[in-house]
Subunit: 183 residues, 2 copies
């Protein structure tokens, strides 16, 4: 699919059909992730591919425990129905203090590649700024070593919903020239 079309049409999907995802497709998505830019070309990524319901359950529990009050309509239970969940991690020793950015650039490629293959996905965070509880619990669930940090959680599945086109802001509302206040 054309790149612009993928970027414009991709929507966050939280309802998945029971159709499974071939390992070869997951590996294609991870290969796309590996083509993201990274600080000093450190390529600090590691990807944990989860298909086991018990592991998904554990992730759901900790995500719900850490769900802030204002996001209560976004409980993580839907994740159990995703046939595959990819947790994007980074190696702190290879990410030059840019681990979050490196991980998110890779996660973006996964989500765009997923849409291009008919898959739905949604971006979820594996850490909370200023509070290590969420990431440390995820570290325990997935046996992630101390020098590696989980950053993003990407559930994947063939969509069981057809979301409407998203209404986005007009460019003129969000742009300024040379300085914040100069439109």
């Amino acid at each position: 699919m054309e790149s612009d079309k993928v970027i414009r049409e991709r929507r966050s999907i939280r309802n998945y059909s029971t159709r499974g995802i071939a390992d070869s497709v997951i590996e294609e998505l991870i290969d796309l992730a590996l083509h993201a830019p990274s600080s000093m070309n450190g390529q600090p990524w590691h990807f944990i591919v989860i298909r086991d319901d018990r592991v998904k359950d554990a992730l759901v529990k900790i995500k719900n425990t850490c769900c802030p009050l204002e996001k209560q309509q976004y409980q993580a239970d839907f994740l159990k129905k995703a046939p595959v969940v990819i947790v994007v991690c980074i190696d702190r020793n290879k990410s030059y203090d840019r681990g979050v950015e490196n991980a998110v650039l890779a996660a973006s490629n996964i989500m765009l590649g997923a849409y291009d293959r008919g898959l739905g996905s949604v971006y979820m965070s594996a850490y909370k700024t200023g509070d290590t509880y969420l990431s440390e619990e995820i570290r325990k669930i997935l046996n992630i070593p101390l020098e590696i940090d989980p950053v993003s959680i990407i559930p994947l599945g063939y969509p069981d919903e057809t979301p409407q086109k998203k209404t986005v802001k007009y460019v003129k509302e969000v742009i300024s020239r040379e300085s914040y206040n100069s439109r």
Copy 2:
């Protein structure tokens, strides 16, 4: 261009020709950015489009001042030759503690859209974790209000270099199943 091709072939470009970039192209890129996912669909983005050499000079100075020792080969001087620089900002009140992730997802769309249009780009950070100096200096240069944070700096220009294909890791090196150590 096919989405996979854009993702696989895009390289970071730091040498730009003198060819200018039409405003219409910049607005297309910002529209692509607006199609990124955002926490609670807050669409917290603001984009500052810089063409003025004095503003670019000020950004170069502060980026070089804050350049860590291990990144000295990545001085920011090249940015002066980029005909356009986009600074991606987020509104903290609309980003639910996910400002960095929201900004990077938008920046990713800009960079992919740029490559699809024959433009080069490179990802640069407008903040440093645990140290507000860089972001506060950028705030002063661009008159960014206190509730808005600069996150990413994306120089754009038609390439004056032809980088080689990037060698990325093999998927099997960076993947595990269910748990970090299970390949």
